[in-house]
Point group: D2
Chain length 458, copies 4
C-alpha cells in the first residue's frame, strides 16, 4: 500500500529539475500525497503546479499527488516529511560573470559552479540564503529529511548542518552515475559481455562533490578498473558518453582515464567537473585545450538559450498548449525517498558530513560516499582509502571548501581571497592579478553580495 507523505519543494518554480522530479514521483507507486511548491518566483511555481496536475491525469501515472503553491516558506515546510531544495542563486547575469569573467584572465571553466573563481562567487551568493533555509527548517519542520540539489553542493550541505546541527540532510548528484555508466561500457568493450545496467556493478566512490573518485569497481569478481589500460589502448581518444546530449556537455572520459593512469583511482564525475579541481594547465591551459581532452566549455549563452526553451515549454505545458508525458529519469531522488520511507533498501552515493566514512578527511567536512538508505535512516559506508596523491587533491579541495565556508560565515573578504587565490584553477595567476579578478567578480555581482558583505574594503 502506498504511503502518504508531504514533500516541500524549495525552489519549486524550477524550470527543469522540478519537472524531472515530478515525473519520477508520479511514476512511483509506493508514495503519494502532497507536493508543496515554494519559490520567490510564484508564477513559475504555479506553472509547475499545473504541469504536475496534468501529469497526474495521464494514464501512466502510478500515484496521486496534490500540488500547492506557497508564498511563505513556513506553510510549505510545516508538516513536511521531505524537503527538496533546488534553487538558482542570482540570475544568468551573475552566472555569466562567474563563468566568463575569469576567461579574461586566462582561466577557463567548463561549468564554473563548484570550485574555482566561479564556485567561490556562487558560494558567496548562495550560502547566506541557505543559512536562512536552515533556520526555517529548524523552526518549521526539524524532523523532515532534506535533500539538496543546488550547487555548489558541498558548501550548501555544510551550511545546513552548521546552522542547524540536528538537520537530517544530504545532497544528491548524478555525476557518479555517469562514471558508472562509463564503466559498464568498459566492461562491454573489453570483456565483450553485454553491457550491464550501472546498478549491476558495484563501485566504491569517495571524495568531494564533483571531485569523487572510484577506488573499486566490481562486476561479480571482475575488477573493472583493471580493464582501463586495455580500454584505453582500444580507444585512445575515449568514447563520447551520452551522445544525445548537446555538444557543450561532451565527455569522452579521457580525463577520468588520465586520472586513473596517474593516481590509481578513477575520477568519477563528468570530465568537465573533474578538471575544475586540477591545475589550469593540466586540462584547461587555453580556450581550445580542452578539445584535446574531449570536452567543451559550456557557455552561459547556451545555458540561457536552453533555459528560455524550458520556460517556453513550461508555459505551454501549464497552459495546456503542449502535451505532457511521463518518463522515468535516471535520477535517484525518488528511490532514496522510498527507501527512507521504509520501502526497501538502496545504496547510493550522497553528500554528508564526514563521521568516519572517509577516515583521512577532516571530521565534519562534507564528503560524497556511498550510503545505505533504509527505514528512516541514511548511514554512510566507510570508503576505501584513496591513494595518497589522490587523497592530497581531494583533501585540498575539502579544506578549500571549509575555508570558503569560514570566510562566508564570518563575512570576511580577506579569508575569501586567500582561498580564492589558492584554487587550483587560479594556479596561473600572480597575487595581484588574482586580487583584481576577485574584485571584479565581486563587483559584477554586487547586487547579490552587498546585503551580506562589505565590498567597500576591496
Amino acid at each position: 500500500m502506498a504511503k502518504k507523505i508531504k514533500i516541500a519543494y524549495i525552489g519549486g518554480g524550477s524550470k527543469q529539475w522540478a519537472r524531472v522530479f515530478m515525473n519520477d514521483l508520479i511514476l512511483n507507486d509506493s508514495l503519494n500525497g502532497e507536493l508543496a511548491l515554494y519559490d520567490i518566483d510564484v508564477d513559475s511555481a504555479i506553472r509547475n503546479k499545473k504541469i504536475g496536475e496534468r501529469l497526474c491525469e495521464l494514464q501512466e501515472a502510478k500515484s496521486k499527488w496534490d500540488f500547492s503553491v506557497h508564498e511563505e516558506i513556513g506553510t510549505a515546510l510545516t508538516g513536511a516529511d521531505f524537503i527538496v531544495i533546488s534553487i538558482l542563486p542570482g540570475t544568468f547575469e551573475e552566472m555569466r560573470s562567474d563563468v566568463h569573467t575569469p576567461e579574461k584572465y586566462g582561466i577557463y571553466q567548463p561549468v564554473g559552479d563548484t570550485a574555482g573563481p566561479g564556485g567561490i562567487l556562487r558560494s558567496m551568493r548562495t550560502v547566506p540564503i541557505y543559512e536562512q533555509f536552515a533556520k526555517d527548517i529548524e523552526k518549521y519542520s526539524p524532523d523532515a529529511w532534506v535533500i539538496n540539489f543546488t550547487n555548489p553542493m558541498s558548501i550548501l550541505v555544510k551550511t545546513l548542518y552548521d546552522v542547524f546541527p540536528k538537520i537530517k540532510a544530504f545532497g544528491c548528484c548524478h555525476e557518479v552515475f555517469n562514471a558508472q555508466d562509463f564503466l559498464t561500457l568498459v566492461l562491454e568493450k573489453v570483456k565483450g559481455i553485454e553491457r550491464p545496467d550501472r546498478h549491476d556493478i558495484y563501485t566504491d566512490a569517495s571524495g568531494v562533490n564533483h571531485f569523487t573518485w572510484i577506488t573499486e569497481a566490481t562486476y561479480g569478481d571482475i575488477d573493472i578498473l583493471a580493464l582501463l589500460p586495455e580500454f584505453e589502448k582500444q580507444y585512445p581518444d575515449g568514447i563520447l558518453l551520452r551522445p544525445f546530449r548537446e555538444s557543450f556537455l561532451d565527455d569522452h572520459a579521457k580525463v577520468k582515464m588520465d586520472l586513473y593512469k596517474r593516481y590509481d583511482a578513477m575520477g568519477a564525475a563528468g570530465d568537465r567537473h573533474l578538471v575544475e579541481f586540477c591545475n589550469s594547465n593540466f586540462y584547461l591551459k587555453d580556450k581550445d585545450y580542452c578539445k584535446n581532452w574531449g570536452f567543451n566549455l559550456t557557455t552561459v549563452d547556451f545555458r540561457q538559450e536552453r533555459q528560455d526553451i524550458r520556460v517556453a515549454e513550461s508555459i505551454a505545458m501549464a497552459e495546456g498548449t503542449m502535451p505532457v508525458e511521463l518518463k522515468k529519469s535516471s535520477e535517484e531522488a525518488v528511490e532514496l525517498m522510498k527507501a527512507i520511507a521504509g520501502q526497501g533498501t538502496i545504496v547510493s552515493n550522497v553528500n554528508m558530513p564526514n563521521i568516519g566514512q572517509m577516515a583521512s578527511m577532516p571530521n565534519g567536512s562534507i564528503v560524497e560516499t556511498n550510503c545505505i538508505f533504509t527505514h528512516n535512516l541514511v548511514q554512510p559506508i566507510v570508503a576505501k582509502e584513496l591513494p595518497t596523491a589522490a587523497l592530497n587533491l581531494v583533501h585540498r579541495a575539502g579544506l578549500n571548501i571549509d575555508a570558503t565556508y569560514e570566510g562566508i560565515k564570518e563575512r570576511d573578504l580577506k579569508k575569501l581571497f586567500a582561498t580564492f587565490a589558492d584554487q587550483p584553477l587560479c594556479a596561473n595567476l600572480d597575487l595581484e592579478t588574482a586580487y583584481n579578478l576577485f574584485k571584479e567578480m565581486c563587483m559584477n555581482t554586487k547586487e547579490y553580495l552587498e546585503p551580506f558583505f562589505d565590498l567597500s574594503v576591496l
Copy 2:
C-alpha cells in the same frame, strides 16, 4: 548460472556447525563446487564428507558439491575462494575449567567463552593456533575470503589481521539476529501488527562481539526501541525467546531491556552473553540470581551430552543408519558468500577491524557493525554513536580484548593477569584471589598452554 567455487573448511570435522553449513550450502542454487575439509580429527572430517555426499543426493538439493578430506592444511587451502574456520580449542575438559573453576570463586559464567576468566583462558589456548592459520593462509591462499565462526570471535579475527594484515577476513555471529527476532516480537505485541521477519526491520548494531548494542531499530518509520517501555509494562518478566531450545539456553530478553532502560540503547546479543560483560553483581551475583533475569547457566555437562548425541548422529548419518534431511538454517554465512561472489547485495553485521565504522573505538580494534556485502567487497557501515555510558562499557571491553591479545602475542603472563583482574566478571575478587584463580585455570589447562607460555613464573 551457478558459480563454481572452492571452499576450505578449517575444523571440517565439526560435529554441529559443519552440518548446518553443508545444509545451507546445498540448499543454495547459485554456488557450487568443492568443499575441502581439514581437521586434526580426520575421522570426523571423513564422516562429514560422507554426510555431505548423502545430503547432495537428496532430491531437495539445489547445488552439487564435491567433498574432499585433507590431513595437511596446505592442500585444503590451495586454490580456495573462501575459507571458513570453526574449531574447538582444547577439549571439554578445558572448557570445564574455563566455565566451572571460577564458580568456586563466586564467578558464574553462562557461556564462559568470550569475556571473563573463561574467555581469557580460551583466548590463550586459541590465539596461538590462529597465528599459525594466518601464516598458512598467507602462504597458500592469500586472496581467499576468510570467515571465522570460532569464539572468542574478536580476538581471533584480530589475530588473523595482526599476523597477516592483507587478509580479507571477517567474523560471523548470529547473536544480533536473535535480538532482531525479539524486536519483531515487540512490534507484534505492542503495535498489534503481524510479526514481520527480522529481515524486514532495520537495525543499527554496534559494539564488540557478544556485547553489541542496537541504537536504531526501524520498521518503516516506526521506532521499535521506543516501544520497549510499553512492551516491558505488558511483559515485566519478558518472554521466553526460542522456547524450542533447551532451557540451558533460555533468554527472556530481560537483560536486553534492562540495558535499554539504563543506557538508551538495547543490548543486542543473547542475555547469557551480555551479562558476561557486566559487573558480576548486576546479573550473576550468585548461582541462582540469573533466574531472576530469565536465563540459566549453561553447564559443560550439558554441552558434553549434547555433543555426544551429535557425534552419535554424525556416525549414524555417515554410516547411513540414520536418515539425513536438508533444512535451511537461520545462519547467513552462505548468503554472505553469495553476495561476495557477485550474486546480489546484502547488509549484515560482522566483526572486522575498525577503520571508521565506530569512530569512538580505537582504530584496528575488532568491532561488530553492519557491513555491506557485494561483488567481492565487504565494507563497514558507519554506526550511530553509542550513548556515552554504553560506549564506556563497550570501549572497556574492546581494550580488554586488545590488552589480552597483546599479552598473548608477547607471551606475557603479567600482562594477561592485569587484564584478567580487570574483567567485569572479576569485579568481586581481591587481587590475591584473582591471582589464585588465574593460576589455577592456567594449571588446569596447562597441556594446551605450555607449548606457548612459561607457566613456571606463576
Copy 3:
C-alpha cells in the same frame, strides 16, 4: 621590575587555600597588584583580606598587594588578569553524606570527592554553580586566565569549557608532585645518591585528575621507574610519605607500586585517590583493608575538626591576636601565573581539554598532562601512550566523567544513575542496592540538588 596584575579569587573566604595562596603571592617578587576576594561568605573574605594585609606588612614580604572584598562577582571579575576558583560546594553535612553514606553499603572512600558515589554527588552539587561562573567570566573578564582548584577537578574544568568554549582555564592539583617526591626517595634509597628536589627529575604524567600515571621518570639518564622493583624489595611495606601530616592522610606508596607492578606505569597521585578509581575489592574491600595498603580513610569528622581549627586561626589572625608568618608552600600556582605573565618558562602538569596531548583519549575530555607555561600561553605536551591495560582504566574514568557531566547538564537522573552504578567503587553492588544508595545520597543532599534536579522521579 614587578608586573602589576589583578587577581580575582572566587571562594575568597576559603579557610585554608586562600592563606596558602596569599603566602606564595606575597613571597613572589615579580608580580604585585590587587587580590579581589569574592565569596558568598563575606565575613570570611573580610578576614582573609585582613590576614593578607598583615602578611604584606611582614618584613619578609617581597611584593605589595591590595586586597578588596566583593559581594557581587561582577566587580571582582572585572579587569582581572587571573581568576582563581576554590570553593566548597555545600557544607560538611553534604560531604558527610558523600563520604560516609556509602559505607553502609560496603563502599569505603578515603576521599570521596572525585570518583565513586561521593564524586558523583559532589559533581551534581558543584557543576551547576560552575555553569554560572563560566557565564560570569564570559561576561566580565573573558580574557582572564582561570585557575581552578576545586574538586571534582575534571568535571568542573569541563563545565567551564563547555559553557564558555573560549575560556582560558586550567585546573591545578598537587597530587603528581607527591608522586614525584616519592620517586626522588626511590632514587635516594636505591641508587644511594643524595635525594634531589622533585624539580630535578622529569616525569611524563598523564591521565585524569587524581588518576594520573607516570610513564617516564628520568634523572639524567637514570630510568627511575626501573628502580621500583628493587625499592620494593627493600621496602615491601613502602615508606610513609610526608610523615608530618595527620595519619588520616598516610600514604606509603604501596598502591602506586602495585599499579606499576601490574600495569608498567606508576600511579601518580596519593594512594588514597588512586584507589577510588579501582574496583572496591582491590584496595577497599572492607573498612580496615586499606591498612594493608598503608593508607587510611579520611573521616569527615576529622575534616570538620581541622576546619574548625582553621577558622579559629583565621579569626585570630584577622583580629591580630595570633601572629602571622610567611612561608612558601609546595604549590605551583603562583609560579604558573608568573610564567604566564611572561616571567620565565615552566613545565607543570595541569588539567585541560584534550586537543592531542593524549591521543587515545576522546577529544575534549579533560586530561591531566604536562603543559608548558610561558608568555601568556599554556600549551599541552604530548604524553607518552599509556600501556593498554592502564589506558583502559583511565579511559573508563574519563568517559565516566563525560557521562556524569552529560547527565548533570541535561539534569537527567537516569543518565546519572547509569554512570553511578558503573563506578569502579560500586562494582560490588547489585543494581537495586546501587539505586537505593543513589537515592539515599540524593535525598541527604537535596537542599543543594533540588534547585537543579527533579528528585521526585527517584
Copy 4:
C-alpha cells in the same frame, strides 16, 4: 661535572657543518668524550679530525674530545650515545640539475633541495641511502639519539622511522630561529624597546620543515604578530635580515609578512624556502620576479665557489697553515644534546613524526613543532591549530612528502611523477611538459638513481 659521551657523525667529512658543530661542542662545558667521524670521503674526515684536535688545544676550549675516523659505519656507531647525520647526496653536478634544469621550463627555485622538482629528485637520491643508515643504526646503536641535519629534512626523518620504527630520531633546522630573530626586530621597531634575544620571546611554530608557520609570538603579554601591520607600514619593503651574509641569501621578510597578511599566521622560515611551497606565480613568476619580494635565487655556481673556499680552508686548517678559532654558532644541536643528557630543559622546534602535536595533520607525517628536551626525553608540544587556509597549504605539502616517500620506497616512478606534477612549483606546467622535465632530471642524475630505480620505463 661534565658527562662523558660518544657521538657518531655520519658525514663526518662535512666541509661546513662539521666545523660549526665541533666549535659548539668544544665550547660547551657539560659534555665531553669522543666524536667518531664516518664518511665515504675519508680524507675529509681525517682533516676534520685534525681541525677538531687543533680546536681542542685552544685556550678557550671548555671540554676535551677525542676524535676518531671510521671507514666502516659499524665501528663509528657502536656505543654511540648520539648520532648526527649531515651528508651531501651526490655532487654539485646533481644539485645543478636539481636547481637549474627546471629553469628551462620556467620554474625558478631559490634553494631547490626540499619541495618542487629539485626536492623530489634530491629525495630520490637520498632516501635509499637513509634506508641503509636506519638499518645500520638498528644494528649497531639502536638506543642512540639520532639528529638529522640533511635536507630534504622531512622525508629523511620519515625514512629513518619507517625503516626502524623504534629509532629515537629528530631533525634540526635553524630556519625558525631566523623568523624569531625577525620578530625581535619587529618588537624593536614598533614598540621602541631594546631588541631582545630570540630566546626571550616565545613562538608557537608548526608545519613541515621549511614551511613552518608561527601562530603565536609573545613577549611577556605583547602579541608580536599583531604588530606586523604597523611594521609593514613603516617598512613596506621589509628589512634586510642578516646583511652580513652573501646577497644570494638575502631575506627581507616580505614573503613572511605577505603570508601573514593573507593567512593570519606568519611564514616561519627563510623567504627563499617558503616560496618553494607556493604556486610559482606567487613569488617566482619569472627569473627576476623574486627581486620584488626581496630575495634572490641561489645559484649552484655560488654554492660551488663557497664550497671550494671551505675545502681550501679545511685543508689549511688541518695542515696548520691557517689559524683556527672557536666561536659559538647560533645552532642549537649541542644545547639539545645537553638537555637530553640530563643537563637542563630546553624548548626548541624540531622535526618528528606526528603523534598528536598537529591534530589536523596525518598521524606519522613528519611535522615541525616545538618540543621539550630534557632528561633523555624529547616530547612534542601540541601546537595551536593553523588557520584553515594555511593548514591547507601545509597539509598539501605534508601529503606530497608522504606520497614522494611512498613512491621512492616502492621504487615506483609513476607515483613519483604524480606527486612531481602536483608540486606547487610545477603549477604552471602542463602534464606533457612536466613529464619531460621529470624525465630530463632523472636522466641528468641517473648515476645516483639507477642503483635504485628502473629508469628505462620513463
